[in-house]
C-alpha cells in the first residue's frame, strides 16, 4: 500500500515539477499585468501578421501531408516493391532528426551554391521555404496513424467491393476511407499541431524577418530576446491554448478510432 502511494505521488510530483507547474505559471505570469496588456501584445500588427503567416503555412502543409500520408500508407501496407524497408525508414526520419538539420538541408538546396539556387521566385527566407520545412517535420504523422489501421482492416471488404464491380476510386471512397477516417483525423490533428508549433526548421530557413517571415513561434523567441517578457508569454499562451485544443481533440478522436 505504501509502495503504491509513494509511486503514485512520485510520478505526480515529477509531472508537476517538469510539466504542470511551469505551464500553469506561464498563464499566471501572462495576466500578471492585467488582461489588457496581454491582449495588446497579441494584437500588434507584427503579432497579427505572425498569426496569419502561421495559419497560411499550416493551410498548405497539412492538406498536402494528409494526401501524401494516405497514399503512402496504402503503398506501405498494400503493395510489395523493392526498397519498401527504406521507404519506411525515410518516412520516420523526420521524427528522429533534428529540425535544424531539416532546415539546413533546405538552405543548402535552395541557397547560394545549391542545386535549386536559380528558381524564378524566392524560396529561401520567404514563405515557400518555410512551407517546405514545415512539410518536412510534419510528414510522418498521418502515415503513422493510418498504417496500423489499414493493416488491421485487411482487404476482404475491398475485394468484395471489387467483385461487385466497384472501381478503384469507388472502393476507396466507400470502403477503405470510412474505415480509416478517424485515423486520418487523428493524424491531421497531430500534423496541424506540429505545423503551428514548429520552431527549429522554420527558424533556420526563414531569416526571421520581422513582419515578413516571422511565425508565432519565432515571435515568441524575438520578444523574449528583446526583453518583452510579457509579450513573449502572451504569444506563448495563444500557442499553449492551441496545444490544449489539440489535446482535447485527441481525447475525443482516440476512442472513436479504437472502436472502428
Amino acid at each position: 500500500m505504501i509502495a503504491r502511494f509513494s509511486l503514485r505521488f512520485g510520478v505526480l510530483a515529477y509531472l508537476a515539477a517538469i510539466l504542470l507547474v511551469p505551464v500553469g505559471l506561464v498563464f499566471w505570469r501572462t495576466f500578471d499585468h492585467g488582461f489588457g496588456t496581454a491582449w495588446h501584445s497579441v494584437t500588434t500588427p507584427d503579432s497579427k501578421h505572425a498569426l496569419w503567416l502561421t495559419l497560411e503555412i499550416a493551410a498548405v502543409s497539412v492538406p498536402l501531408n494528409t494526401i501524401f500520408g494516405v497514399l503512402c500508407a496504402l503503398a506501405i501496407v498494400r503493395r510489395r516493391f523493392p526498397g519498401k524497408g527504406l521507404l519506411n525508414a525515410v518516412v520516420d526520419l523526420p521524427l528522429a532528426l533534428s529540425p535544424v538539420v531539416a532546415g539546413l538541408a533546405i538552405v543548402l538546396l535552395y541557397g547560394r551554391g545549391g542545386w535549386f539556387e536559380s528558381l524564378p521566385f524566392d524560396v529561401l527566407y520567404a514563405t515557400p521555404a518555410m512551407v517546405l520545412a514545415t512539410i518536412f517535420v510534419s510528414l510522418p504523422f498521418v502515415v503513422r496513424e493510418v498504417v496500423p489501421v489499414l493493416r488491421e482492416i485487411g482487404t476482404d471488404q475491398e475485394e468484395a467491393a471489387a467483385t461487385l464491380g466497384a472501381g478503384a476510386f469507388a472502393t476507396f471512397r466507400r470502403v477503405t476511407f470510412p474505415a480509416i477516417r478517424w485515423a486520418v483525423a487523428y493524424g491531421v490533428v497531430l500534423t496541424t499541431a506540429r505545423s503551428i508549433g514548429e520552431y527549429g526548421a522554420v527558424r533556420v530557413v526563414s531569416g526571421n524577418i520581422e513582419g515578413k517571415t516571422q511565425t508565432m513561434t519565432l515571435l515568441v523567441q524575438d520578444k523574449y530576446e528583446q526583453f518583452d517578457t510579457t509579450g513573449a508569454y502572451a504569444v506563448s499562451v495563444v500557442l499553449a491554448l492551441i496545444a490544449i485544443a489539440t489535446l482535447l481533440l485527441m481525447t475525443v478522436i482516440r476512442p472513436r478510432e479504437e472502436s472502428t
Binding site: 509531472l15 511551469p22 533534428s98 539546413l104 538546396l109 475485394e159 520552431y199 500557442l239
Partner: protein, 273 residues
Amino acid sequence: MAADAAAVRAPARTRAPRLGGVVGGGIVAGYLSLIVLVPLAAIAARAGNFENAVTNREAVSALELTLVLALLVALVNAVAGTATAWVLVRDDFRGKRLVNAVIDLPFALPTIVAGLTLLALYGPRGSSGINLAYTRAGVLLALLFVTLPFVVRAVQPVLLELDTDMEEAAASLGARPIAIFRRIVFPNLLPAILSGVALAFARAVGEFGAVVLISGNLPFKTEMASVYIFGRLQSQDAAGAASLSLVLLAISFAVLLLVGALRRWATRHDRPV
C-alpha cells in the same frame, strides 16, 4: 453495357483494384524525394573538410555534451516513463484521465514555448528561486520536458494488454512484488521501454527549440550539437554545418533501425513460423 462487362470480368480478379497504382506510387516517390531525400542529399554533397569540421574542439565538445545529456535523458525516461505508465494503468485515483491527457502536452506544445515555460519557473527571476538558466542542468530539464511522452506512450499499451494471470500465479507461489516485477512484468515491457527510450534519445540529440533559450548556447559549456550547427550556418560555414549534420543524420538513422529491430523482436512470437 459497360457495367455488365465489369460485372462479368470482376470475379476473375484476384486482387482488389487499389487506388494509386503506378500514379500513386509516383506521387509518393516524387513527394518524398522533393521534401526529404534531395534536401538530405544536398547536405551530403555540401559537407566539406569533414574530418576537421567534426574534430575541432568546439564541435567535439558540443557533440559530447549532446550525447551525454541524451543518455541521461534516456535513463531518466526509462525509469520515470515506466513508472508513469504503471501508475496510469494499474493505479486508480481521481483525475487520472486528466493526468493521462496531459502526458501528451509536450508533443502538442511548441518547443520554444516549452523552453520559455521552464524559464518562467527555473530561470532568472523564476518563481521557484532556483536559477537553471545557462546551466547544463537547465538543458537537461528542457530535454526531459520534450521527451516525457515517449516511454509512457510506448509502455502503456503493452501494460494494458498484459494479462495479470501470470502475476497472480507468481504471487500465489509466494513471489514478492519486486520479484514479480523483475521476472514477469519487466521482461514483457522491455522491448517497449527500449523503443521509447531510443526515440527519446534521438529527440534529445536533435532538440533545438526547447534548449535555445534556457542554454544560453555557451561554447564548451551548454552548447548542444543542433545549436552549434545553427551557429556554423550563421557564420557562413555551410560545409562545417553540413558535416556535423551528417553525424546527427547517422545517429537518427541508427536509432530508427534499432527501433525497427526492436519491433520485430517484440512481435517475434506473433508471426507465423
